[in-house]
Symmetry: C2
Subunit: 170 residues, 2 copies
């Protein structure tokens, strides 16, 4: 199974899903006549990242997972976004970056040793990095984004989380 297929298209789709959730959040704010910035700074617990930071983190996880699995240096994206439009632009930037990867970039990624910055001298083999770190971290921040919006009344369901499927005739 190719690591490209397990990362780039799925991260890209999930980031597009987040864009759609944010748009639903903005519509909800307009309909209820409150500033969408209230949603952006909402959180589920006082010591948890707020919505805007969850989206930044999901972007970073997608970006750095693909970069690290392919031995590239990820571009730096300082967390300077404050507004709804700035956050949407951050997502678009990361989607454009993901679009630069090819399946060939991921050749051998499953056995590449990936050092962990927070654990000097230790690392994970690429396949383990994907399943134990990259995917759980990406889905964690993606799910928290969804959960904060849902908790605040935005009309989201599971279908918005899953998004489109590469359906085949059986």
């Amino acid at each position: 199974m190719a690591l490209y297929e397990q990362t780039v298209p799925q991260f890209t789709k999930m980031l597009s899903n987040i864009e759609a959730w944010l748009d639903l959040g903005a519509e909800y704010a307009k309909a209820k006549n409150f500033d969408v910035a209230v949603l952006l700074t909402s959180r589920l617990a006082p010591d948890q990242f707020h919505l805007l930071r969850q989206v930044q983190a999901a972007c970073d996880q997608a970006k750095s997972a693909c970069a690290r699995l392919t031995g590239k240096e990820p571009p730096k994206h300082p967390d300077t976004e404050v507004t709804f439009d700035e956050l949407k632009a951050r997502i678009a930037t990361v989607k454009s970056y993901l679009a630069t990867f090819t399946a060939k970039d991921f050749e051998g990624a499953e056995s590449r040793m990936i050092p962990l910055a927070f654990m000097p001298g230790k690392g994970l083999v690429g396949a383990d990095f994907l399943s134990e770190m990259a995917l759980p971290n990406f889905y964690f921040h993606t799910s928290m984004t969804y959960a904060i919006l849902r908790h605040n009344g935005v009309d989201l369901g599971k279908r918005h989380f899953i998004g489109g499927l590469n359906l085949q005739d059986v």
Copy 2:
């Protein structure tokens, strides 16, 4: 990359992580002198599954993903659990079921056609089923379980979500 490695060990670890979060929830309930059943029936939105049902759903996603990718019939687990101990037993049952799978069971799983019950005549190829359905659904319910506990004050952090890592010397 082997589909066994991307599913069985990671689902098993995440289910063990959920057991640990539930234990922290029970300790929290005891320390604050409230019934742990209050946590089990908590939710983030009135039209969302409560905690107990999120755990059942995570169990079902892990079980059915492995069964469907390997062409097996998953065991039926009716959602009859009500108490904390019953929920813990459900998780243990699913972990035992996952332990029956071998890497050999997953041979050819990436190209196996998996029909979708909710979309007659349509299906997903195994590799797409894993990345587009099984993993997002599993992490969705796992993350909602975490989010409900966190929202209610249980002292969870990202390390509890990620759990142990298959670390190597670099």
